[in-house]
Symmetry: C2
Subunit: 340 residues, 2 copies
């Protein structure tokens, strides 16, 4: 209760109350050796009594370390990036790092650059970049920040990257369709400037080519259900038995369009999505898709960062492989069934 109402206690106030020098208090604060147990106790008591909180500013000023990480994310509140950010944030907090967030919705390059600068002005010790946009990724990689950067990047552009193996996920999706007997497999891709979309399209193309199948130019959406619906509208009478859709939301929109045109899923058209959003299991029909472990991805970001900041070895982290979740939107193609 010996509280001065004036202003927050400093290390000197604690020292006086505990009857030691401020340096001894500092030693207790930083858990340094060479402090007698009884002294330590007295100091800790004084700290509690005065409700002393060390000043991060003073500390940062002398140590030149802010223990803060700047996290940049682009785009809206989508399931994937949000989950990744959450996972990272929790991991960072567990290691007592503060996270300064800069979420750029309109991810034009100027805004992104500005966000980076704002973070640098805060003297963050490292940067995390969660974006799927090629342009943003390349732009941030080009900036000379002088601090470590870890990016979510399945393409290997970034020096320090973590990733979910989008390419492999796409292969698994298409191979699933192939194994059911599908041969005419379309692809509804994500936006052209998305690294994830690019990798998924590449996976689809490669599997098709390896199977000697023609891969017609993929349709392109923007991840939104609306764009999936619109893509479906252009498809009307096209000849295909399955579509590998680059994400669940577009698959939902496409489903909607197919339904509107009387093409039944999976009886006439099989659909595979990507992400396994919480909604996927309850669509009509429940969607076969690839689950991505975003939480682990987020944690990996922090792990990778911790290695960089401590200057440790840092073994390469293998990309996370998405997991196929088979539900009711995929089945044996009609032609096969008819030919029995």
């Amino acid at each position: 209760m010996a509280e001065k109402p004036g202003r927050p206690a400093t290390i000197f106030d604690v020292a006086r109350l505990a009857g030691v020098s401020h340096q001894t208090v500092s030693r207790v604060l930083n858990d340094l050796p060479n402090v007698r147990a009884s002294t330590k106790q007295r100091v800790e008591l004084a700290i509690k009594q005065l409700r002393y909180v060390p000043s991060p500013a003073a500390r940062a000023l002398v140590t030149r370390r802010t223990r803060t990480i700047g996290a940049i994310a682009t785009g809206g509140p989508d399931y994937g990036p949000s989950s990744t950010m959450l996972g990272f944030n929790e991991a960072a907090r567990a290691q007592r790092y503060a996270v300064s967030m800069a979420n750029v919705v309109e991810s034009d390059l100027a805004s992104v650059r500005e966000a980076v600068e704002l973070l640098l002005r805060q003297n963050v010790e490292a940067l995390v970049l969660i974006t799927e946009r090629v342009g943003v990724l390349d732009a941030v990689l080009r900036i000379e920040t002088g601090i470590p950067l870890v990016a979510v990047d399945p393409t290997g552009r970034a020096e320090h990257a973590v990733a979910i193996d989008q390419y492999q996920g796409a292969r698994i999706a298409v191979e699933h369709l192939l194994s059911l007997g599908h041969r005419k497999i379309l692809h509804l891709a994500g936006p052209l400037d998305s690294v994830d979309a690019g990798e998924r399209a590449r996976g689809w193309r490669d599997v098709m080519a390896a199977s000697g199948l023609a891969a017609v130019e993929p349709l392109v959406g923007d991840w939104s259900p609306d764009s999936g619906f619109r893509a479906g509208e252009t498809l009307s009478a096209a000849d295909f038995s399955a579509v590998f859709v680059a994400n669940d939301q577009m698959a939902l929109g496409l489903m909607h369009s197919l339904r509107a045109h009387g093409r039944r899923v999976p009886d006439e058209v099989s659909l595979v999505g990507f992400d396994d959003i919480p909604e996927a299991a309850h669509l009509a029909p429940p969607l076969t898709t690839l689950r991505q472990d975003f939480a682990t991805l987020g944690r990996q970001i922090m792990d990778s960062l911790a290695e960089l900041l401590s200057g440790e070895a840092g073994d390469e982290r293998a990309p996370i492989i998405p997991q196929l979740v088979v539900r009711a939107s995929t089945g044996v193609p009609t032609v096969n069934r008819v030919s029995v």
Copy 2:
């Protein structure tokens, strides 16, 4: 190019290069008056040449202002909270405030308290709380932080709150069903510890009571599509013609269950959701729901905070009213149609 590779430039380096005192540099940095235009120019040139960035730590040490806001969010990557956080983050950045994020997934009280303390240790100037959990809200409100707190809170618990009017939204939803002729209207509520869920249930109950209709005990879910599905399974043969579902995801799960039991929407059962998630327009059938303007909510948080921090008057902010979006999941009840 006159760059010392050693360590970052300080205000004294700039002063020397510009041929002025460090104080004049400080004046330029802070845009204070009484600096000759030509002097200012020289200083600015020196700043650019040395790539000088002022130290936030040194600044914070003497001004006692960190220009940082701590933002606490609880729960997973749901559409609503994520959007709100995004809106807030952009607004804060626009006012040159840094945002230190603490996202607590497992929102037990101990973790939340810990998150608050971590932020306080960073000397944030204010706190933002984005949670729907009664327990978390109450717990944080009780903590003596000594700094302003703005919470998302439609119940009026928090002294400084912004909100979407959940109660009013629920009334609009139920009134929509009433106007179509429904009388037996169930409610599938969100979790019991959710302020939003409570307000929505209250709105439903009040409208039912005002219309002299019996409001049977609502079903309770946890916002997830899965819980909506499970709720549907318990409903099998119950007597009702419409359900007001407390969010879109549960509505989706419920839809799934109804479909599985051959009860058609909207022919036999009308459904109204809440949120207007991007998926809502493409469900089978497209979902009637209430749209919430989360982006504006996020901006309001920052506006409210700015007032508090500047000590301005700060007029009360009226809660945002959700907007009814009528789609195909609601229609005239069967009995009425049959009775023609």
